[in-house]
């Protein structure tokens, strides 16, 4: 092959594997080589087991060679955010408190990816327990943005975004609690989709905020994202909150969208997310790219109107009460008794002291900040004022979405992130500035509706994302619209956005 396979999309890789033009072992080795060359500088992975990946690739090649019928993903490598448990493979959730832990079981998405014949390259870096928007809260190391190594790759799924954008994995899974798939996808020029809450099983995904967490795909193209989503989605009896409904046909929606005809589609542009009177904190370059994308939608036949969702202004404070509250409880199990780190158990200390020392040393500052916040918000006497009020805001946000759908809008659009990727270190001492990075992504999280981020071009040489939100269970609409935008922009440009990325920019 002339082309470096690490620069290709997963659909093309799958086609070449199926056609026998490429073996999974060669493909896997190409990615492992690139990881070996680049990851010291990029910091995308926390764990890579090349031998295991090659053995798995050989197994798939063998099956293919002996005529076994394989699916479209078979033999294609994949990277998993380190929040998914993988049997026998270290899983840390970006935290010291789980250093060295090898889970005795697989997450449902892990099982489904194995069943689809994918090859696990490794586990990607993340903000500790998915708490952060830059991956700087990883307890192990920061991850750099392949577009500019001095900038963050977004977060918390920044290891996955950097790995895919940097050509260290063809695609990856991330998780999104308040924007952790969409925002890093936007900041690295990828497609990222947060499914409808309950669309993908949370079983085996280390919980941050149970009522918000969703796993989803991060990919080079909309079609790749749709295929990966189809592979992991659907009902799981092990997750009570998983929706017992057939997965919508997503890849087909992406293919249809790429055809470019959006006539009849009604698009709402959310005023509160970067619209008139709501531009504080939004970079002009971001707003310009989004406006161009909206104009493009109109040219493709969509009917565009502005929609007001007043409760979206309250999403940030509501989110930063609900998510920490649930986290304070979800993270209580990390106390050094049954797994992971244990500190100070030298026979001289009481159980309470060992638990306290373990948590003191095992958790980083952002995790502690959120545990304290959440513990406070759930305390007797404060519950109604904080957690209770936040839940009411959540209801109001859901009503704003419902009103938009009832007014005849099929999808809502906005910027994915108010800004492009910022310099490493710029926000670490200002948690509120860091939290503001999620401004546009929080409403869909709180309402449980699906949302995609699709590249809308560059601003100052850095990627900008357009967010497409749809009603619950209508993930296919996100894919259709995102694919139309992607195809039209690629056409106008003559190449894909990721082709503009200097692939040597991430050398160590």
């Amino acid at each position: 092959m002339d082309t470096d396979p690490t620069a290709l999309d997963a659909v093309e890789l799958g086609r070449r594997l199926a056609a026998g033009e490429l073996s999974s072992v060669d493909l896997t080795r190409a990615f492992l080589d690139r990881i070996a060359e680049r990851d010291a500088g990029l910091g995308a992975y926390l764990h890579v087991d090349g031998d295991a990946a090659l053995a798995r690739a050989a197994e798939i090649d063998g099956a293919r060679g002996s005529g076994v019928e394989l699916g479209p993903l078979a033999g294609v490598p994949v990277a998993l955010k380190d929040v998914f448990v993988t049997e026998g493979v270290p899983t840390t959730s970006g935290s010291r408190i789980l250093e060295g832990w090898r889970p005795p079981y697989d997450a449902t998405v892990t099982t489904r990816l194995k069943a689809a014949g994918t090859v696990l390259l490794g586990k990607t870096n993340m903000d500790e327990f998915a708490m952060g928007s830059s991956t700087e809260n990883s307890a192990y190391r920061p991850t750099r943005n392949p577009w500019d190594p001095d900038r963050v790759p977004g977060g918390s799924s920044g290891g996955s975004s950097a790995a895919v954008a940097g050509g260290l994995a063809p695609w990856a899974l991330g998780t999104d609690t308040g924007g952790s798939i969409r925002q890093p996808a936007a900041l690295t020029g990828l497609v990222g989709h947060k499914p409808t809450y309950g669309g993908v099983s949370r079983y085996g995904m280390i919980a941050f905020s149970s009522s918000l967490d969703q796993a989803g795909p991060m990919a080079r193209t909309v079609l790749d994202a749709a295929l990966l989503h189809e592979a992991i989605g659907g009902h799981d009896p092990r997750d009570s909150t998983s929706i017992d409904a057939p997965v919508p046909v997503l890849a087909e929606a992406a293919r249809r969208g790429a055809g470019g005809d959006l006539s009849g589609l009604r698009v709402g542009v959310v005023r509160e997310l970067g619209g008139e009177g709501h531009t504080d904190g939004y970079e002009p370059g971001v707003l310009a790219r989004v406006q161009e994308a909206v104009a493009l939608l109109e040219r493709l036949g969509a009917e565009v109107r502005e929609v007001s969702c007043p409760a979206f202004d309250l999403a940030l404070p509501a989110y930063y009460l609900i998510a920490p509250s649930e986290a304070s409880s979800n993270l209580a199990r990390f106390e050094g008794v049954r797994f992971g780190l244990r500190v100070g158990d030298d026979g001289s200390r009481s159980l309470e002291e060992v638990m306290s020392l373990t948590r003191e040393q095992g958790f980083g500052p952002e995790v502690k900040r959120r545990i304290i916040l959440g513990t406070y918000a759930l305390s007797a006497g404060y519950y109604d004022a904080y957690y209770g009020q936040a839940q009411k805001v959540r209801t109001l946000i859901g009503r704003d979405f419902a009103a938009a759908w009832e007014s005849g809008v099929d999808v809502l659009v906005s910027p994915t992130s108010p800004t492009v990727a910022w310099p490493i270190g710029a926000r670490v001492d200002d948690p509120l500035a860091m939290y503001a990075a999620d401004l546009c992504t929080l409403p869909a999280s709180l309402a449980g509706v699906p949302a995609t981020s699709v590249p809308a071009g560059l601003s100052g040489g850095l990627p900008v994302g357009l967010q497409v939100m749809a009603p619950a269970l209508a993930d296919d609409r996100c894919y259709r619209v995102a694919a139309a935008v992607e195809a039209a922009l690629d056409d106008a440009r003559g190449h894909r956005l990721l082709d503009e990325l200097d692939r040597r920019g991430v050398a160590p």
Partner: protein
Amino acid sequence: MTVTQTGDRLVDFDEVLTRYEPVIGLETHVELGTASKMFCGCATTFGAEPNTQTCPVCLGLPGSLPVANAAAIEATIRIGLALGCRIASWCRFARKNYFYPDIPKGFQTSQYDEPLCTAGHLDVEVDGETYRVEIERVHLEEDTGKNLHVGGATGRIHGADHSLVDFNRAGIPLVEIVTRPVAGAGAKAPEVARAYVAELRDIIQTLGASDVRMEQGSLRCDVNTSLAPIGSLAWGTRTETKNVNSLRSVERAVRYEMRRQAAVLDAGGRVLQETRHFHEDTGTTSPGRSKEEATDYRYFPEPDLVPVAPDADWVERLRAELPELPAARRRRLQEEWRLSATEMTWLVNAGALGLVEATVAAGATPAEARKWWLGDLARRANDAGAELGDLAVTPAQVAELARLVGEGTINDKLARQVLDGVLAGEGDPAQVVQARGLAVMGESDELVAAVEAAIAGAPDVVEKVRGGKVQALGALVGQVMKATRGTADAPTVRRMLEERVLG
């Protein structure tokens, strides 16, 4: 006034009641007998090797998620229905957050302000008086693991070298049944508490929802006790006594707390709101952790589970399918067997109701069944320190025994020997009669020979009888009975002797 070894001063029970009115309350935990745990598929067998019935879910491993056990929800609703409760049409589980090594997730999944069942009642009878115990709530939660403190003298955490945790019990479905405060029972308060737990146990057993074995911990009871000065409108401060592991202990714990609290109040002191531990051996209570420094459990709705919304038709079907409950059954049997209330109470207190019913069903008359279970068998159980139901004899065997006596095959005295054989595992009564040769002997050659041998062997007695001392014949009767190992019929033997000696 007495003083215990631990220094508690106690007012005499009768004297307590001259100044104070007791108020009691009971919180009962029942481990449901479902095949699998509350939120995962692990088995629930009692007594398995530690940590062999666990999985990522009940160990609280990162990433694991709960799935509610539908059978446990159904059992809880049935318990609620049997207690006349209102069944919620929509309710949620809640997380009760606190740190303890036997809580794998750092919280217990329980129910808080939205219990599955509310506002029921249970009527209990003590000495012919009926007391209504109001049920505040019945809710569903998961059990904790079990700590084993190794080293140290007490088996408690203080002084132990190290602690081990067995998570087999973690996640077993647990139903908590909470009463409203029960006032007005006066001197009967301890017995009302006991009768309540006994009745609750019988109901749950009848429902088949749990094996309710207090000694194995599948029914556990916390007893709240407070005293108010007679005539006072306000209730006193309550203590919560834990580790109350038998019906007898329930009664003793209330009695002890009444006497202890009365002494505290008499001395002008204040009863502390605290958890106390009951000690089976001494019948005393001692302070545990103080409730005044109670943890804030930070309850909030469990986001990993969907709400429970029992369909109204389903609930009505469960109500219609409830079995006959113990109170109704007692009323029916008392009528069928024509017993007085007192006789019925004896039967119930002896734990013989079901055994008698089964024995009657196997063909005995109610009188025969009661005679055996409350008489000879009760004595044997008592001697062995066992429950009647634990004896190695079935109701069918007792019915057969009664039939053999009724037919005259054996007499009562022989019947006891037959029972010996049954209890020794020698088979059914008829088989024992056969094997041991215990049937009543007719006027057979063997008996004639025994009678003649007795006469020949005691000429002096024969002389006395002939001389007018007829009562001396008794010695000869005894001789013959001994020679026939009791299988002869005593009146027959006497007649045969009279014919030969006096005839």
